[in-house]
Amino acid sequence: MTIDTPVDPTTETLDRVVIRFAGDSGDGMQLVGDRFTELSAAFGNDLATLPNYPAEIRAPAGTIAGVSSFQVHISDHDIVTPGDAPNVLIAMNPAALVANLAEMVPGTTLIINSDSFEQRDLDKAGLTVNPLEDNSLAAYNVYQVPMTSITVSATKELGVKPRDAERSKNFFALGLLCWMYTRPTKPVIEWIESRFESKPQVLDANLAAFKAGRNFGETAELFDHPYEVRPASLRAGNYRNVIGNVATTYGLVAAAQSAKLPLVYASYPITPASDVLHELSKLKNFGIKTLQAEDEIAAASIAIGAAFAGSLAITGTSGPGVDLKSEAVSLAISLELPMVILDVQRGGPSTGLPTKTEQADLMLAMYGRHGESPLPIVAAYTPSQCFDAAFEACRIALKYRTPVMLLTDGYLANGAEPWLLPDLDSLPDISVEFATELNHGDEFWPYLRDPVTLARPWAIPGTPKLMHRIGGIEKSGIGLDGADGSGNISYSPENHEAMVRLRARKIAGIANDIPNVMLDDESGDAEVLVLGWGSTWGAITAGLRRIRARNLKVAHAHLMHLNPFPKDLGDVLSRYSKVLVPEMNLGQLSRLVRAEYLVDAQSYTKVMGVPFRAVEIENKILEMLG
């Protein structure tokens, strides 16, 4: 895409910039953040985003609790995080300024809607003095722009009432930022035209506000010159912008297609997982059946029924929902049916921080069930990589006839990045064969196992002669080397012990079927290893780049498979004298690796509902390097 307006000759080129739009949750900050992101993606920048909004749909207007923000990092080179701190803050009201100022480094830019600093606005934000007047912002480049009044006057001719006109001020801000960063305007105009087609007056007002914002930048002589961030030279191929929940959705669909199975997705609305239900619900012509269940328990149970009947069955939720599903997941473990449980992790316990991110469900995924009930765990580590993680979770579930926990989190779910679109034809074939014949003389043994994978046959209703009953009661299900695989109820102590060990062995054996640890050790002789999992990948990678820029050595191992661990993990850990495990929890992976490998892993944790910053990782490693 090219820029559709002449480039100002004074334009200054930047290699990257981090912009944060902040306002009241009714101000449409997520919407303009999304637009700016889409524009930048289509323009060819690399990018990463961090939406941050309150759990309440409309928290009290103008208060700090009601502040909603959207941070976007755009660059002309490969980047991996939404940026530690913004270079530019757009603050639509005093609360947005107050809530975000602590993160602004002196010398950065504040673009402030000066119309919203009346006494009552200040009161709502808990301010006694006006920060625009007391010199407290002297360290920043402050641009006071009367966004509301210009928007109102720009829309006056359209006959829009002032109160309605004010609502378009987010598009004014977007227009201004588009000028500042030399963004193409045509896609925004087209988007406004199609989005608000049915509301002509809103359409016209938003368009007028957007253009007014752009023109203001060009003519107001407030800003010296615009900036530009050139397209990034990423790997060749076709790209789109994607958020994690959408990538997860497509990964599930791709898995169903590769498996040649119908997809059934049963879910109960819960933040931040609901978007996966929304996305899949659109895909009716893919033959995908979605069911919004009466509760989380039903959603998991429905998935079990669908799996028994021969579908690729998925249930999606967030932490509290996993608690409720755990009994059903144990049943799936006992039935040995394929199923994927998607957990888009959020801050806990209980309702916790429903719109914020955390990685504190690892132990829940690992051990959060009654009895000895192991299951494989796959965790995504970037928004677009959710596609691969979802596909991998389905592959394991189908091949080993087991429920699989797929972990993403709020940051991945809503964070965006460019996605090099995968070649669907090159995805592995994960199709399965249903049982069609008797397998034990004139009987069918539902637990007669594959000697390599230990998976049991999948005989689906409708298949003549293979009628069988399975249930949650302990069963004669060894089904190896001539042992009983009838699945009949068995309370024998020896059988139970053998079954418990066999179920554990089946899951542990998956280690033979997953890649070695992803290890990034440039020099090969680093002494410190940073071990991460899930969405900390970006911050760890960015932190390591900074360390390496100082000519210091550090290695990075990142886990996508949390159970079983890659076979070489113990060996990798033993090669480093120091191991650092950064996590957005209180040290769950570090406990697992300490217990499993007796390694003196140092835990480094953060539980603020927002991702690590690269600088935090950088400083921690510097501290370890002494």
Binding site: A42, N238, K284, L421, P461
Partner: protein, 339 residues
């Protein structure tokens, strides 16, 4: 002879697994009724799935030579919904008890019924927890003395049919374990119904709640205590058909002497009334198995079937937009190329 035309017998539906209910349990006669009935129906064993939760009744699938899932407590209607959603071609029967379906699983029951999933739900009501050895259930009467209510239960019981009708189930019936013929006729109607069907089966637990239904089911009591509902006929009962049901000035059905109101004053039963109000009122005629109690089909109406509608929505979408193309969807919207 092709496989399709092989005549099936009761034996074809017996799994051969040893039946482990207590001797004398009412579940035996229900199992026998089902196994006798199935060969008469136009179904192949491989196209049937029995789904259950937990409880004595929930062992039922193990004894059926069909596909079966013995699930978790209360969740049978949800598991069965998954089976039916995935495969609308199957015959999915759900078996459970009063604790399973009305206590821990009450939510799933009402939602399966309101959605009108094509499930045949049989609730064996023995008014007690049997498998856990005798605690009061959500259908136990107030004052019930059990291990968990030594001073008498304070819980007001559910009326299962009122629950089903309140959830607007499209087929609602009641039968009992003392009359195989009545059970088979009722189960046959249940099977023939398209959509969610709910049948309450009065079932005697001879160990923990023996004789709970004697007041209405003992042979000597049946004439005066069981009200056989027949579609299109005036509701009458008694050895001499001397009793009947008429609607009072508040619109509530009440037991009357036929002599008093006359035959024309009796309520004519209509299973097919769209509005469930009258069927609901009929379900309230008896507060427990101690007063005259209607059995048979209370309601049988048609409504779009959930799993069929889901399938239709998919087909309509393919018709409209063509089969889904993932690569196309993934690259729709703004994309760009890097050389």
């Amino acid at each position: 002879m092709t496989e399709e035309t092989v005549t099936l017998t009761k034996k074809d539906f017996e799994s051969g697994e040893e039946v482990r209910w207590c001797p004398g349990c009412g579940d035996y006669s229900i199992l026998t009724a089902v196994q006798f009935l199935l060969p008469e129906l136009d179904v192949r064993p491989e196209n049937m799935v029995f789904v259950s939760g937990i409880g004595c009744a929930a062992r039922f699938p193990y004894y059926m030579q069909t596909y079966g899932v013995h699930g978790i407590h209360g969740r049978a209607p949800a598991i069965a919904t998954g089976v039916a959603l995935a495969r609308p071609d199957l015959h999915v029967w759900v078996i459970g008890g009063d604790g399973d379906m009305l206590s821990i699983g009450g939510n799933h029951l009402i939602h399966a019924l309101r959605r009108n999933v094509n499930l045949k739900i049989m609730m064996f009501n023995n008014q007690i927890y049997g498998l856990t050895k005798g605690q009061y259930s959500p259908t136990s009467e107030v004052g019930k003395v059990t291990k968990s209510s030594p001073f008498g239960s304070l819980d007001h019981p559910f009326n299962p049919l009122s629950i089903a009708l309140g959830a607007e189930a499209t087929f609602v019936a009641r039968t009992h374990d003392m009359d195989r013929k009545h059970m088979q006729a009722t189960f046959k109607r249940m099977h023939e119904h398209q959509g969610a069907a709910f049948v309450e089966v009065f079932q005697n637990c001879n160990v923990f709640n023996d004789g709970a239904f004697d007041g209405i089911l003992k042979r000597a009591n049946r004439d005066n205590m069981l009200i056989e509902l027949q579609h299109g006929e005036a509701i009458r009962f008694g050895a001499e058909k001397e009793f009947g049901v008429a609607v009072n000035e508040f619109g509530e059905p009440r037991v009357v002497d036929v002599e008093e109101v006359g035959v024309d004053g009796l309520l004519v039963h209509n299973e097919h009334r769209e509005d469930p109000t009258l069927a609901f009122a009929l379900s309230r005629l008896s507060a427990g198995p101690t007063t005259p109690t209607p059995v048979g089909v209370f309601r049988d109406v048609q409504r779009p079937i959930y799993d069929v509608e889901v399938q239709a929505q998919l087909a309509a979408s393919v018709e409209k937009s063509g089969p889904g193309n993932l690569a196309k969807i993934m690259s729709s919207g703004a994309t760009w190329s890097i050389e």
